[in-house]
């Protein structure tokens, strides 16, 4: 049973870490460095636990309970990762990497033709004339031009005239189409940048409402004051280091 003051202490830590991690945007400071290392420590411990869980629940359990002897294979390859501590034989750890990479690459390569290429090609086949709907017709024509132009932009070796500006007809068509492709991509990038603002701000609002919640407000105020002090401290540190630095470098050449 976790005692209540552990919960209160937990909320304080959560509020303090939230403020101190945000402080990095203003200036890197000692409290950010503390929160960062605390976060990294817990994350590394959590990653260790997930690794252990993956091994015991999906690896060892099938062998012990269902007698699936095949699962010994990944456990052997997994153990090879510890080979890195064997000095001369450290290279056996590469077997572990390549074993895992083998799965990842295969999953990617076998689905790529369907999901990345054929599905996109099928979706690019649009009616260029939509009776009774001029807006849709223009939209589809524009979309097809952007797709063709974009594809040409990514062609590396078949460039007419090897890419130098030469007034041949094929080069001008290539130039116009790739320009349309680039403009299309810019529309895509602008829209995507704008769309992510909503989700980021929503997360930010979530954090702010937590910081302003009654049980966290006290810790938030204290943490903010401490953060301000830490930021001022790191500015003074920096000024002292740069004045000392310039005195020293005017004397001796700075060692790289």
């Amino acid at each position: 049973m976790v005692l209540p003051y552990w919960d209160v202490f937990g909320v304080w830590i959560a509020a303090a870490i939230t403020v101190w991690l945000y402080s990095f945007a203003f200036k890197d400071n000692v409290l950010y460095k503390f929160s960062e290392h605390l976060f990294l420590g817990v994350a590394a411990g959590y990653s260790f636990t997930l690794g252990l869980d993956a091994i015991s629940r999906t690896g060892i359990a099938p062998i012990v309970t269902e007698g699936e002897l095949g699962y010994i294979v990944p456990i052997i390859f997994g153990l090879l990762f510890f080979g890195k501590y064997l000095g001369r034989y450290a290279w056996i750890a590469r077997y572990g990497s390549m074993f895992v990479l083998g799965v990842g690459l295969s999953l990617a390569v076998r689905t790529a033709p369907e999901a990345f290429i054929l599905k996109q090609v099928a979706a690019s086949i649009l009616p260029l004339y939509v009776p009774g709907d001029p807006v849709m017709t223009i939209t589809h024509i524009l979309m097809v031009l952007i797709i063709i132009g974009g594809l040409l932009y990514f062609v590396f070796t078949f460039v007419p005239g090897g890419g130098e500006r030469r007034p041949t007809a094929s080069y001008r068509v290539y130039e116009v189409l790739t320009r349309i492709g680039i403009y299309g991509m810019m529309v895509g990038f602008g829209a995507l940048f704008a769309r992510t603002v909503m989700t980021r701000v929503a997360f930010f609002i979530g954090r702010l409402t937590f910081l302003m919640s009654p049980e966290a407000l006290g810790a938030t105020i204290v943490a903010t004051i401490l953060a301000a002090i830490a930021i001022v401290y790191s500015y003074t540190q920096e000024r002292r280091r740069s004045t000392a630095g310039s005195a020293q470098s005017s004397g001796a050449a700075q060692t790289s």
């Binding site: 830590i13 290392h37 817990v42 690794g51 939209t139 974009g150 991509m185 529309v187 954090r207």
Partner: protein, 214 residues
């Protein structure tokens, strides 16, 4: 022997797995072969479990070195990391061993009060970075950049009530842009990426990737 084991062994592992997982994907296979294929895919995450443990041990060794050497301005932080890592790993291991998993009280405390808030905070720190990038980097130096800016403004205005107050047409225009032009703009990038993935797979099978032959 060591050259073969060092150089061609790992390549053979990838070749074997790629061939098996491609054949089982593209051709109708008997039931037990498909069961075996599902296992092989799980094997990747099991072996990776060991790598995650080795990774955590590497982080520990890296920071213990700072602690031992008393590196000024770093050893104290490394001590904080080491304590946090050992505590979380210990409570996590107890949770896994006793079968309770991540609901083991002390581990849940560390997870809910340190990992979760920190994770949400670093994710939402992006709001600050979007603000300063918008002022400093969103520069219109040429026509494509101008188009990027205009579309960005339209979609942002279309997403919030702000746009509605100025001109109700922003939202439908932004929906039209996203559903049509933006979808089309990303198709060539996705097709290109698909081709890059396939050829990277080929190069890795033929042992021409990640190996230097000097």
């Amino acid at each position: 022997m060591s050259v073969v084991a060092r150089r061609y062994g790992p390549q053979a592992v990838i070749l074997l797995m790629m061939l098996f997982l491609l054949v089982t994907y593209f051709f109708v296979m008997p039931e037990e072969v498909m069961g075996f294929e599902a296992n092989v895919i799980k094997w990747g995450s099991i072996a990776a479990g060991f790598a995650m443990m080795v990774g955590a041990i590497d982080i520990l060794r890296y920071h213990i070195a700072f602690l031992v050497r008393r590196t000024p301005g770093q050893w104290l932080y490394s001590l904080v990391l080491i304590v946090a890592l050992l505590l979380t790993a210990a409570t996590g291991t107890i949770g896994v061993v006793t079968g309770v998993g991540t609901t083991y009280e002390p581990f849940a405390w560390l997870y809910n009060n340190i990992y979760v808030p920190a994770d949400a905070t670093i994710y939402s720190i992006l709001v600050f970075y979007i603000a300063s990038a918008s002022f400093r980097a969103f520069r219109v130096r040429n026509a494509p950049a101008l188009l990027l800016l205009i579309v960005g403004l339209i979609v942002m205005l279309g997403n919030t009530s702000l746009g509605y107050v100025i001109w109700p047409g922003f939202t439908p225009l932004s929906v039209w842009l996203n559903k049509n032009i933006v979808a089309a703009a990303f198709r060539p990038i996705i097709i290109g990426a698909g081709l890059g993935i396939i050829i990277t797979g080929l190069r890795t099978i033929l042992g021409r990737e990640l190996y230097r032959r000097e």
